[in-house]
């Protein structure tokens, strides 16, 4: 597992690793696919422990968002550190994803 997970009501909170790059993005994608196959429809990605994300990680998030949308689900992100947020903004992903400043706020997604 490249993340840990917690169920809060109908929301599945996925706590991501310190670093998400091409070396672990594939494993992350496979693990998330399993979560979606289990029928989880609301996924909140907790970035509070994440210091780095590359385009490989963005690719996983985009594919997760596309997959959950097909089943009427929803994906949101929370607690992005400033440098990580900068990557999202540079990629225009802040327009695609709902980003909550804190994960407590995200629980109301």
């Amino acid at each position: 597992m490249v993340f840990s997970m917690e169920q809060k009501g109908d929301i599945t909170v996925i706590m991501l690793d310190k670093r998400i790059d091409s070396s672990n993005a594939y494993d992350l994608e496979k693990e998330i696919e399993k979560v979606i196959q289990e029928g989880k429809r609301k996924i909140l990605f907790d970035f509070s422990g994440t210091d780095y994300i590359s385009s490989a990680g963005l690719r996983v998030l985009l594919s997760t968002a596309k997959n959950t949308k097909k089943t009427g689900g929803k994906v949101a992100l929370c607690s992005l550190k400033p440098f990580v947020k900068e990557v999202f903004v540079s990629a225009g992903f802040n327009q695609i994803f709902t980003i909550y400043p804190s994960c407590d706020d995200g629980i109301s997604m």
């Binding site: 670093r19 070396s23 590359s54 385009s55 690719r59 985009l62 440098f83 540079s90």
Partner: protein, 142 residues
Amino acid sequence: MKTCFHFSTKADIENLPQIAGWLEETLAGAGVGEKDQFEIGLAVDEACSNIILYGYADRSGTIDIESCIRDDELTVTIEDAGKPFNPLEVTPPVLDADIDHRKIGGLGVHLIRSVTDDLFYEYRDGKNILTLVKVRGAVGCG
């Protein structure tokens, strides 16, 4: 003053964190600010990922990295003997498409461009040579 450091590693996807660790240690040791470290680190990681996943997709090889630190500028030169690939020719992604139409292609190179001030590419003697240039931020903030 200019100080340069060199690192060479097998082009294996598992080695990306090792490259990042070396660069971070080198830059932090030379007093480069955290923001500059993060941004040049992102550019190097994206460039090396492309080399490993595409340039060396059908062969094994090495990646040679040289990082040079000046008072006002960072340059990182990355060399590989994989397939010729000029990142400057990659079409920029459409950033304002909605989620259904959003494609991920070209995002790595877009990120490289967004965090560097200049990029140079040449293919010479069977090698891709990519040079990333970043103007350093103000001391203490950069």
